[in-house]
Structures are given as structure tokens and as C-alpha cells.
Amino acid sequence: MTDLPRWTRRLLWMVASPADLDDVLGDLEEAHHRHKRRHRRLAARALTALETFDMAGAIVRARVARSRIRGSSIVQDYKLGLRMLLKYPGLTVAGGLALAIAIGVGAGWYDLTRDLLRPSLPLPGGDRLVEIEMRDSASGQDERRILHDFVGWRRDAQLTMDLGAYRTLERNLMLGDARPEPVTTAETTASAFTITRVPPLLGRPLVAADEVPGAPPVVVLGYSVWRRQFEGRADVVGQVVQLGSIATTVVGVMPEGFAFPVNHRIWVPLQVRPSGYAPLEGPAIHVFGRLAPGATQAQAYAELTTLTQRAAAASPITHEHLRPRVLAYGGESPGDRSWLEFVVTHLPILMVLLVACANVGTLIYARTATREAEIATRLALGASRARIVSQLFVEALMLAGVAATVGLVVAHWALKWGVATYYSGESAGVPFWIHSGLRATTVVYAAGLTIVGAALLGLLPALKVTRPQAQPQLRSAGGSGSSLRFGFFWTAAMIGQVALTVICLPPAMGIAHEAWRDRVLRDQFPAERYLAVRLDLDADLVSTTGSVESAAARRSQVYEEFERRLLAESGVEMVTLGDRLPGMAPGVRSGEVEITPNVPPLLIPSLWTAAVGPRYFETFDIPVVAGRDFHDGDRAELSRTVMVNEAFVRRYMDGANPVGTRVRYATADASRPEPWFEIVGVVRDVGMTPTDLGEAPYLFRAVSAATASPLVVGVRTAADPSALAPRIRAITSGLDPGIRLDEVRSLDELVRRVDIPMMIGAGAILTVVALGLCLSAAGIFALMSVRVSRQTREIGLRAALGASRGRVLAGIFSKAAVLVGSGVLAGDLVLMFFVSMSDEVALSDVSNALLITSSIMLTVGLLACVEPARRALRIQPGEALKEA
């Protein structure tokens, strides 16, 4: 009977080979007896503990020395791991895909959340830069007309230094008689240069004197503009260029890579009146600053809140609901680094990895079970437990490593593509802090995830199959039969996996179906006959000191002339304008409709909005089916008329004529409701908005060229509109020096740009769910294979005693049915629970989907049993009994 503590034996089991284990334990036991004779109990145990560690160290040293003599065993493990990947292609493909998705998604999420929450700015002390926003707590919208507040903050704030402000403008830059080039311009305070601590390449940056109204107009050029338009000439400083309609002197050039505040190419001073501004006076601006040494984001926020409350006391009408926010620059993190941020960054990744590992782990566990004879032989030949465990770990690492490589490559390209697509519509382009593709740190993080994944996959089955209690069984295990069994954990994991697949199937099928229907609907619309032009003017006339009215008048004049010239072109049939064209991403707000006077209005959670100009519906062949079209009177500023589509009438008016009914936008502040609008007409559904299925409730407002923002021109052509696109720049030449064409594309191309992410998203979801289905099938197959393998002798015995083939099959299929049925039931119950909690989906809506997905899952589960069942039927009673 041994006296050694249990941990001693466990430790030595881990390091010593079975051949050495007994005599090493015997030595320790003997030493322990001596210690007990000579010392008190506690001291004896301590001495034995020391000796155990000493012995374990000696064993490891001896093994390392041996492995050096015999050559590297690790290399052998990797070779064996590679052979295993090739030997079990099903597991390699299914498990590898699951891990590739988990690691790819995890790495992408880690990269993305870091950029979104708290990006790492490539500037000296970039982690101390903050962005200050003002939010209207009543509407939930950002209030950017905060020049008044900015002047106050800059004067009084102590904890935020170098406060600055900017706004983005698109300006035409002209040198001599060259064609004007639109350039993303930052109209900014000089502090943009002091805060970033980046010295100019040539000349000087903007300085405080440039901000004074009336100061001579100056510009600082970005590196790319300097290289491209000025061919990198050193004498550019002091030259006069035309910026929009203003002659401006170049005072400096910034070095390559400098693009603060976002992705700006040139910088002009934001002129701020020292006397200040009235509340909400002036244009929309963005405010930035640097935290004072020792100050935290929370302290800066508290100080700005106090200053804002003071402003609210002085001006309650404009500031009652305004609240400042201090964000990490470029990010969305509203506070200092916290555990919550850590959790948001890491927890979803670990969850995805855990789900994938549970799935793949089932397969690896089953494979390990089929290799018991091999493991037993190796143990009998003197391999230690650590040796076997490390080999199985290396095999899992090979699988996870290959999967991680695939996952990371896909994630890298997906992120690159995603960033390019997301920012393609933004005038400022990709912000300078956004890294296109995965960062090196993310790859290191993913490597860590891979090792964790491999440890979960490889170590658990390896430790179980080589545990001391299993070794006698292993040694007696022959070529057939298995000592491993799927215990509670793996069975629960399998049921969970089936349930998860059942839960994900209906939404995935729904999304795929919807994407397909969208595609069909959108194909019916002749988008290939339209050209979309995004038109704007340089904002010189809408500056901090200019007049808004004159800018609107100028905009109208320019548009009218542009329209006239367009219509004179051959092939152009009609021209209209709006803030978006059919097929472009819609604006969505919540609204209310007054069905019956004096009865509380009905809430519309998602009201899709579009602002439309003259002849909009006519241009796009959208007939007015009730009431009337907009006329010029509806475009007046105080007009309160709207039109809706048929889907609106179907969904909220029960098909009744809505003309004369009132609607308004919803607001969080009941004391300040939005004004009512009267419905004057109904148009047919277009079915061109992604995911609307032709059923989205639309609200159309009337706008003119002066008020549409952005101003998007739609041109209907008789032939291919792409032929007209190159002509557009010629048409606008000489029209106005400040005119800008931000986007000239066929509507078809724009629609495709919206479609592609949607189709890819639907495809990705379908792939993941199909993979889940495959993994479930593979898991059930593995489980049943192991079960048949374990029961070889029992099945043989039953066959010898006269059990029919039907009874043997029933035994296998009934167990699979119970397992899959449990998973299906659990999944259905969870799904029904969520449906019962939802206001928008009724149980009857999903009952068919539930039935179909449950049937699919059951069929897949039972099909997975076919091969194990065939194996069971091939068992010869005589051979099975001989082995028994």
C-alpha cells in the first residue's frame, strides 16, 4: 500500500515513461519511509515533496539528453501530424474549416474592435488624443453646430489641451490653367499641427494668426498633392494657387503619411471669431484635443460636462438636452480603458473558438478512440504519458495551424476589401489610423488562439486516453474494441451542436431566401438605363462667416444649368434629383401615423425615407396610384407634405386610402414632438431597396436642388449610360469654379456595390450553417462509430444468440435518434422561446421552417449512422466471441 501523496504519483506519471515509473515510485516510496522514521510527519512530507521535484527534474533532464542522442522527436511528431491530416481527410476538411472560420472571425473581430473602440494612432502620444462630441439626449443625434461651445471650452477647459476644431470640405485645387482637381480639405484650427507634433516637410504649418478672420488665405499641402500636382518642387512655398474661387498662398508641405484629422490632403485655416458665436451658430464642426498630463478621459468628461451645464443655464433653449462625450480619438470608446472594453474585445472570440473546438473536439476525440491500440503499443514500448500527450497535441496543433493560416489569409483580404468598400462612399476616404488588413499584433494574437484551440482539441482526449486508470485497459485493448466512451461532456457537446445548428438553420435559410428574392426583384428594375451623379459645390459661400441663402441660390442656378446641358446631350431622356436614387442605401427613422384623429398615433419602428426632386417618380417609371405627385409648392421650406408607397398603405392603413392622413417622425422627447406631415399621394413599390422585398414602408419628402443633401442627380438614358459618364466633366466645365462631381457611375454599378456585400453575407451565413450541419453529421458519425467499436463483442454475442439484423440496426439508430432528437428539441425550444419574445414574428410564421429544419437535422443525423450500422452488420459472431 503506497504512502506517497497522490500528486506525487500524478507528477511522475506525467514525466516518466511507464517502463521507468514503477521503480522511480518505489525509490521515492522507500525514501519517504525513511523520512517518516527520522522526522515528524510534516517534515517528512516536505522532504519527500522536495525529492519528488528533484526526481521529476532529473527524469526530464535525462529524457532531454536522450532525445538529443536519438534526434529530435518533435520533428517526428510534426511529420506524424501531417500524415494524420492526410489520413483523415474528412476530419481535416470539416474540422479545419470550422477552426479556420473561428480563428479568422476571431482575428478579424479583434482587429476591428481595436480600430472601432480605441484605435492606435500612428502619432507621438496618440493614445492621449480625444474627440469631443455633443449629443442631443432628446433626439439621440449628434449636434455638430458647436462653435459656441468650442470657443468656451478652449478658453476654460484645463484637462483637455490644444483643443481644436475642423470640418471637411471638398475643394477644387487649380494651379494655373490646369484642370481643377477635387481635394479633401480640412478647414482646421492651427492646433491640428501642435497636437500631432509632426513638423512640416517644407515651410510652416498653420499658425494661430491664420485663424483670425480677415487673415490672408493660406494653405498647407499634403505630400501626395505636392508630389502629384507640384511634381515635388521645393519652391512651392509662397506660390499662389486657386482653391475653389479663392487665390491662396501655399505656406507649407506636410510629410508623407500625415493625414490628420481623418484622411485630409490639404489644410486651410478655420477662421474663428474671437468674440465668439451665438449658441448653435455656425457650421457643423468636429472638436479634438489632447488630455492634459495625468488627466483621464473620465476627468476630462466631468470638466466638459460642468462647462456644458454652465452653458445650458445661460442658454436653456438650445443647450437643455446637450451632453458632451469624450471619446478616444477615432474610436467609440466613451471612457478610459476598462474591463468592459476588454470583455467586448476578447469574449466573443473565445466563445466562437469554444464552439468550434467543441465541434472539432468531438471528431478528434472519436479519432483518438480509434487509435487506442496504437497508443497502447507505444506505451508498452516505453513511451511516457507526456510523450503521447505531446504527440496528440502536436497533431491538433498541425490541424489548427493549417486552419489558422487559411483563416488569417481570408480574414486579411476580407478586412482589406471591407475597409475599401465601407469607405468608398466617404468623401474623406479611409481614415489614417485604419489599418487595411490584419496587423502583425493580430496575427500574434491569432497564433495564441491557435495554441489555445489546439490545447483544447488535443489535450483533453490525450489526457483522457492516457490517464493512469485507462492504461491497464489500454494494454489489454486489442485491435478491435475501444475503452473510450463518449461521456457526459461530449454527449452534451454533441446535443448542443445539433441544437445550435437547428437554431441557426431557419434564420440562415430566411436570409438566403430574402437575398435571392431581393436579387430577383432588383433584376426587374432597369438600373442599367440610369446614370447617378453626385454633385456639390465648394463651401466657400457657406463658410463660418458667409450666408446660407446665397449658397442655396447658387446651388439652384448651377443645377438648373447642369440639367439644361444634360438634356441637350443625345440619348438623355430625363433628369431628376434627390438625396438618393432607387437602389441606394435608404435613410431609416422611426415614425408615427395618425390613423384616426384624437387617437394616439401608431408607432412605425422603421420608416424608410427619401427626399425627391422634380419628376423623380416619372424618371424612374414609378406611377402615382393615389392622390397626386409633388408640385413646386411642396418644395417650399415650410411645406408639410409627404408621399408614401403601397407597402406603407398595406402595412399601416389596412389598404385604406391614406391621402389626408398625417405622419411624423418619432422623437424621444414627448415635450418636443416633430411636426406633422400630410400624405398627399401614394406611389407603387419599387423593390429596389436592399432587403425591403418590395414591402418596406417608404416616406418621400419633396426637395429642390437648393435643399437636397446630398444632391444626387439621376439621368435616364436611351442607351448605355456609361457612354455618357465621360461627357459629364465636359458638360460641367465653365459652369462654376466650385462645382464638384464626387461620383459618376451607372446606377447598375451602384446597385451591384450594395448587392455584393449582401450576397457575400448571405453566402457566408449559409456556408457557416452548412458547415455546422456537416460537423453535426460528422460528430454523430464519429459517436456512432465509437459506440459500434465499443460494442463489437456485445453485438457479436447478440448475433450469436440469434438477434436479428433488424434488432441490431434498431439498437444503433434508436440511440442516434435519441441524441439528435434531444438536440433538435432543445434547438426548437430555444427558437420558440425567442419567437415568443418577439413582437414582429409569430410562432405560425416559423412553424414550417422549424418542421423543415428539424426534418433536415434528423435525416442528416440518421444518415450519419448508415456506415457505423453497416460495420455493425459485418461483425462475425464467431470472431467477436473468439476475441471475447
Binding site: G26, D27, E29, E30, H33, G57, A58, A62, R66
Partner: protein, 115 residues
Amino acid sequence: MADKRAPAPLAEFELLVMLAALRLGPDEAYTVSIADDIHHHTGRGVRRANVYTTLQRLEAKELVSTRLGDARAERGGKPRRLVTVRPSGLAAVRASTSAIQAMVGALGKVLGGTT
């Protein structure tokens, strides 16, 4: 030119282990008894782990061989791994001790007649 078949020289502790194994004989030499024997004759504290490592090394050099003995109650029913010095081991011991004796012999006066 050195003789390729000459036994590899033994380190000091290896020599002590070999000598103890020879003294105890193939039926009594194992890790614990070898450690005790060295301690008894030299008075120096010996870690059993070091004896284990040394025996592993000597076995790898094919100077000793080991076999499992019978189970013993004081060892918790575990067997002893008994050590037998192989002829090559004996040759190595002889070579090492001869070298030491040759070196010491010339220093008799200095060392006070240890030989």
C-alpha cells in the same frame, strides 16, 4: 593516435556510482542503495535524483545494464531497478582508477603517502 576502442573516461560522480554498483553487486545495486553506499564511504550528501540521472547516462553509454527486481513492501509493492556493471563498464572503471593512481603515485610526498 588514440585507440578508438579505449573506454570513455568517467566523470568523478560516474566513477563513484560505478564503484558503488560493483561493491553492492548485481542483486543489491539500485538507486537508493548506491546513494547510501556513496554517502557511507565518502561522507558526502548524495541526491538520489543525481544517481538516477547518472545511471541513465551510464546505461546510454552501455557501461551498465538494468533489470527489474522483485516487488518489496517497503517500496509500496514496487520493484527495484537493479544495476549490473557490464564488462565495458568494468574496463572504464579500471582505466579511470589507473589514471588516478598514476597521477597520485608521483605525488606521494606532497599528499602524505596516500598510495
